[in-house]
């Protein structure tokens, strides 16, 4: 089966989709050797991220095993993770 999403590091709480997928689709991915799946709660396009673990507001979004920034809202498993619910913690001259 063609791969649907990629998880780079076992610590990651997001997976990156490798195709466009619609809400309700069950997406399969591997964490290390272990296959897991997540049901999308919304349409998410190619190259974008889906939460594979609950991420509470203020917690870090993790990809590559490292922080991409902080969640600005509670994020459920299956939700799209992007600039609408997370923010860079670097270079914030406004904070």
């Amino acid at each position: 089966m063609k791969k649907q999403a990629v998880v780079i590091n076992v610590k990651d709480n997001v997976a990156t989709l490798v195709d466009d997928f619609t809400s309700g689709t069950e997406i399969h991915y591997f964490i290390g050797e272990q296959e897991q799946s997540v049901i999308l709660l919304q349409d998410i396009p190619l190259g974008h991220k889906v939460a594979i673990r609950e991420i509470k507001k203020g917690e870090e979004v993790i990809k590559y095993g490292e922080s991409l920034g902080g969640a600005t809202a509670d994020i459920k498993i299956g939700q799209h993770v992007h600039v609408h619910n997370m923010e860079s913690l670097r270079g914030r001259g406004d904070k």
Partner: protein, 386 residues
Amino acid sequence: MMEILGYRRPDGKVGIRNHIAIIPTAVCSSTVAANIAAQVPGAVALPNQHGCCQIGADHEQTVRTLIGLGKNPNVAAVLVVGLGCEGVPIREVADEIAATGKPVEVIVIQEVGGTLKATAEGLRKAGELARKVAHLQPEKIDVSELVMAIECGGSDFTSGLASNPACGIASDMLVAAGGTSMLSETTEFIGAEHVLARRCKTPEIGEKLIRYVRECEERAKLLNVDIRGGQPTPGNIAGGISSIEEKSLGCIHKAGHAPIQDVLAYGEVPKGKGLYVMDSPGQDIESITGMVAGGATVVIFTTGRGTPTGCPIAPVIKITGNERTFKMMEDNMDIDASTIISGEETIEQVGKRIYEMVVEAANGHMPKAESLGHKEFGIYKIAPTY
């Protein structure tokens, strides 16, 4: 033990090409240099816009880069072409390069008497150099003598997922074999510098890396703009990259997992083997020029959108993780890493293919950019020209 076909230079360094470099020391001697190179087999000119009216660290950087390019072991012999009144010390550049033991000649346009005489004299000298080095034969040499530069440009989400981590594997393989690998592009460390700093051999080297990133930001602030105002770009965001941290974390994966031996100034030559980081801009051509001036003899270059560029003195291997880009720009792409995204191959398998192609390139195989004559060249400036 893996072997390559290399040219052992008098200073012990190993090249995988046998170029004659025609190096202008000022923008004003670039045309004469290009004309000479056009007529002599094996000669390549390094025309550039620099060499005069530069001051301080910016001037020093241009001088260091020109010397480094001449010293690069892919270069068998050098003709330095000066104008005569430029800021770059013409004969010092030639003498520094000659310290490697390779044949070096100099012409100065104002001393010879103009374009026609300088071209004739330059051709006479470049022809002599060609006769001195064209017969040199590569010999079997251990792969540990390779110095590989790693570059990424025209990135998209596949770069961080597929082609960059695969390059990281190739870099790890070369370092494990005793070779040298270089990561650059300081701009794209912002937000990931702590990850790289942790991997530095000593805390002091880690601090040096953080300092280079801070200086990069400070220079941008001198223009009264925040460098991050445009990072990630609208295109990056549309493609799924949510923050500068995410962009940088994808970029640094191309350097694999080896410890960082040192952080180098632009164009600085590493003192040992293993993985090094060099301060450079994110702009591909200037970044590659810096690493090649630092002694890199082969370049691996990941691209999502697809870029055709090469380098005058080092073969450049193009890798894309984007299936569509590989199909659209197959003229320019050497390795299809989209098999990682589709699940047909692992990152390790593609990394091994990249490493094998690096060894093939070292054995004389021409990557596409080299075979199509791509010789893009540019030197990084850190201050205005006065």
